[in-house]
């Protein structure tokens, strides 16, 4: 089924190839500087919506019931607030957009891979400044700040996705004021992506003296060197950020500031969007987007964005599920179309997912690829006969664990349960509280047989692939066999995935990733990926310059602006 999204993606990919052709890609250098010096301005859709007016303040919805419990980028409550400030108040060394796959330099003016193997990377920092708040009080950003920040992220016991910092990085050094040196234990082609140092959650740059929390109240204030500085907030809610006058790109950001308005109730958010009190709204599904579009007409526009997250079913390799025939039967029993229609309320609400999610368009296999078509095939009859062949115990009932609260997840579980029952597999749904039960028991201790969850994979295929290897980021460690939550150990897959991390050439790496995916599909990898949701974001017509397809990087790129002549303020 052709989707609008596929066309957009294909356009993006072809654009990237045109750009890449003009850059030198080799083993010695990794950086494609298509945008010419400076850096920080993303390529993307060319925007021709008029001359930007500057100073407008964008008002966004802050979801959730309460304000952020803490604004600190460290600690158990860090993730959400970090994602907000990571793009606004903090700056980063570089960024890899999902649509081009090329590293864009930000705080790092120069990036140099020093040795043949790619073990050492030297980053030369631009001249930039921290916000004018004590104790940093507007001083320059130094390499020692980067070192201190990244080490703090590495050592934060509550940090997620810090594998690169902990396992691959050997040392972080700051031999000169503006020279930052990264030394790795082994070559790692994924270093620049989000599973490496590209994640906003673990690579923000803070002033070194603020990190231990004694001179600066990290829980209640934010001090970075990003485009916006935090002006005020009320108990972690209703945050007001304002443009940083000494931002390293002159003339940017176009926005005068960002206001986050706490709106717990979705229908209140709809009302506020319709009234023009907030400038952007994430709809819950296409139906609502269409309704609002009907209501507001030209006063708004809708952009769809394919989520980088995907819904998947993890199957622990214990009898009877350790039989490849059973795994294949499970895969064939899932009707993705039906699930998308029921849960997202519209066929356009989701895109089928292979081993690597479709949002990672450079690496994902297209749906018309032979192996992918087979992976996505729905065939309940064959599923039933496979189960018979495998002597599957049809009288047993297996627990399907999901986390709560999440209504969509509960709906998905119900659909899955019904689909499995059609081929004879009986399943009972057990909802567990996310933080206190599901994360510790299922994610950490791997105490499950079947679990359905939504996995956020950011921009690198390495993370989705690693779930099938013995160096999976989750699960108990087996001394002899390695680490895999589903107790799935396969040397061939290990080798294939590892090979991708050693391949520095982008095209060659893409091929290796695809090869690894085909191998996993052939072997009926026990993590069965279902679909990625499409998000529908509504924006008022005065909100311009947003680059779609890059998530928050696209929103806070510095080039977003409010047409004050349309909004009136």
């Amino acid at each position: 089924m052709a989707r609008v999204w596929d066309d957009t993606l294909r356009q993006r990919i072809s654009r990237r190839r045109v750009l890449a052709g003009s850059a030198a890609l080799g083993a010695a250098t990794l950086v494609a500087c298509n945008s010419g010096g400076g850096g920080g301005s993303p390529t993307g859709e060319p925007v021709a919506e008029g001359t930007p007016t500057k100073g407008g303040i964008i008002r966004l919805r802050q979801p959730g019931n309460t304000g952020f419990p803490s604004l600190s980028p460290f600690g158990p409550t860090a993730l959400v607030s970090t994602l907000v400030f990571g793009f606004t108040a903090y700056d980063h060394l570089w960024y890899v957009p999902i649509d081009t796959g090329d590293t864009e330099k930000m705080l790092a003016a120069e990036l140099e891979i020093v040795d043949e193997q790619g073990l050492q990377v030297n980053a030369t920092l631009q001249e930039t400044f921290f916000h004018d708040k004590p104790p940093a009080s507007g001083r320059q950003v130094l390499a020692s700040d980067v070192k201190a920040s990244w080490e703090a992220f590495r050592d934060d016991p509550f940090g997620l996705g810090r594998e690169w910092l902990r396992d691959i990085v050997e040392s972080l050094e700051a031999p000169e004021d503006r020279l930052f040196v990264i030394k790795q234990k082994r070559p790692w082609a994924w270093m620049f992506g989000q599973s490496g140092a590209g994640s906003p959650a673990s690579s923000s740059v803070l002033p070194a003296e603020t990190i231990d929390g004694t001179q600066f109240d990290l829980a209640n204030d934010v001090l970075g060197s990003g485009r916006f500085l935090l002006e005020s907030h009320r108990g972690g809610a209703n945050l007001k950020l304002r443009a940083f006058p000494r931002w390293r790109v002159a003339g940017e950001p176009y926005l005068g500031g960002v206001d986050l308005v706490l709106i717990p109730d979705y229908s209140s958010a709809e009302a506020q969007f319709a009234a023009g009190e907030i400038d952007q709204l994430d709809f819950q599904n296409k139906l609502q987007a269409d309704q609002m579009q009907d209501r507001l007409g030209d006063d708004m526009y809708v952009r769809t964005e394919l989520s980088r997250a995907y819904n998947c079913l993890m199957v622990k390799q214990v009898p009877p599920f350790d039989n490849p025939l059973v795994r294949k039967a499970l895969r064939l029993a899932i009707n993705r179309e039906e699930m998308i229609q029921l849960v997202e309320r519209d066929a356009a609400g989701g895109v089928n997912c292979g081993i690597v999610p479709p949002a990672q368009a450079l690496y994902a296999l297209p749906e018309d690829d032979a192996d992918m078509a087979e992976y996505l095939r729905y065939d309940p009859e064959e599923a039933r006969s496979l189960l018979e062949q495998a002597s599957f115990p049809l009288d047993d009932e297996f627990p399907l664990l999901i986390s709560s609260p999440s209504e969509e997840l509960a709906d998905r579980a119900q659909v899955l349960k019904d689909q499995l029952s059609r081929v004879g597999i009986k399943v009972r749904i057990e909802a567990q509280d996310l933080l206190s039960v599901w994360v510790p028991r299922v994610l950490i201790q791997a105490d499950y047989t079947l679990t359905l969850f939504t996995h956020l994979a950011y921009e690198d295929p390495y993370l989705p692939l690693s779930f099938y290897t013995t160096f999976s980021p989750i699960g108990p460690r087996d001394e002899a066999k390695g680490r895999n939550s589903m107790l799935f150990y396969d040397q061939e897959i290990d080798d294939a995935v590892d090979a991708t991390a050693l391949e520095f050439d982008l095209d060659a790496r893409i091929d290796k990733v695809k090869a690894a995916q085909r191998l996993i599909m052939q072997k009926e990898g026990p993590m069965i990926n279902i679909y990625s949701g499409v998000s529908f974001t509504g924006r008022r017509n005065w909100l311009k310059g947003v680059v779609t397809g890059r998530g928050s990087f696209g929103l806070f790129s510095g080039r977003t602006w409010i047409d004050t002549s349309l909004r009136g303020s």
């Binding site: 019931n65 829980a219 229908s267």
Partner: protein, 315 residues
């Protein structure tokens, strides 16, 4: 009577200790150890131990308990395990919200219940009486969460109405928005309590109106309104107090439903979320506080009852 009161008062600290201890132990033997949750994805046994030590979870339970009792006695109620905020601060922030809900529910229940109860009793078997009783029976049967759901759905369906956003606004800051946020749900919630109260007031009033001394008062030529208000009503107070006390006590759990449905940040929601994430200091404090309120209210009720009705004698 004072002896009785003193005896009851003496029990209160005991009950406090018992409840505190029970909560304390229960929470620590439950699976869902906060250290595991806080340990995160990279959890190793060593790190988990470090966290347990940091939270004092590795010491024997009774030692932890005495530590906690000492803290409570000195006014230190601990800090939330997750966000690190002071429990007392968080509670203080949310108290006005729950308090306002409780006051408004009481106000509406009380006013509606008592008014219609008296009217219904005095105008017995009139259309008003039948109407009110009919409505009462139905009002009492419809679950409060269904009414609240209807309260959200109907205005939205008919008029695209949505409750005000932006979080809690204190009454003194912006009375109109505050009332818009609180009046509809509390009015709806108070119906049940009002109906209960109405029936009670009505039946008690009827009994009292038939009694001897009321007839005497009427014979003496007192104005009917004086008879009702001064004599009859006084005697309906005890059961009313009982119901009102109960309403206040249940206002806390009723508030949980209201707060979750309307997305209001009161104590009920705070407590509910805290239990789920095993935020021990918060849960302990809330349990203690709620229990104390209930116990104190019960005592007050018994005492005021004795105060109002001199015929009552306690053993």
């Amino acid at each position: 009577m004072w002896r009785y009161a003193l005896r009851r008062l003496a029990f209160i600290p005991l009950i406090a200790l018992a409840i505190g201890a029970l909560t304390f132990f229960l929470l620590r033997i439950l699976p869902g150890d906060p250290a595991t949750v806080l340990c995160g994805q990279q959890c190793t046994a060593e790190r988990r131990e470090e966290i347990r030590q940091a939270l004092d979870l590795d010491r024997p339970v009774h030692e932890q308990y005495f530590e906690w009792m000492k803290d409570v006695a000195t006014g230190n109620l601990g800090t939330s395990i997750y966000g690190g905020q002071d429990v007392l601060d968080e509670v203080a922030r949310r108290l006005p919200v729950s308090f306002e809900i409780m006051i408004m529910t009481l106000l509406f229940s009380g006013t509606l219940g008592i008014t219609f109860g008296i009217l219904s009793a005095v105008m017995r078997n009139s259309p008003l009486d039948y109407g009110v009783r009919f409505f009462a029976v139905f009002g009492q049967s419809i679950p409060d969460f269904f009414l609240l759901t209807l309260l959200i759905v109907i205005p939205s369906m008919l008029w695209r109405y949505a409750p005000p956003a932006g979080g809690y606004v204190a009454f003194f800051d912006d009375p109109w928005t505050n009332l818009r946020m609180f009046v509809p749900p509390t009015l709806v919630l108070s119906i049940g309590g009002a109906m209960v109260l109405m029936r009670l007031v009505r039946s008690t009033m009827l009994e009292v109106l038939r009694s001897d001394y009321v007839r005497t008062a009427q014979a003496k030529g007192l104005h009917p309104r004086a008879v009702i208000l001064r004599h009859a009503f006084r005697n309906t107070l005890p059961p009313i107090l009982t119901v009102l006390t109960f309403t206040v006590a249940t206002a806390f759990s009723g508030s949980i439903i209201l707060e979750r449905v309307m997305g209001i940040q009161g104590l009920g929601n705070f407590f509910f979320q805290a239990v789920f994430i095993r935020d021990l200091p918060v849960v302990q404090f809330t349990v203690l506080y709620t229990a104390m309120i209930v116990v104190l209210l019960n005592l007050l009720q018994d005492l005021s009852y004795a105060f109002i009705d001199p015929r009552v004698r306690y053993r």
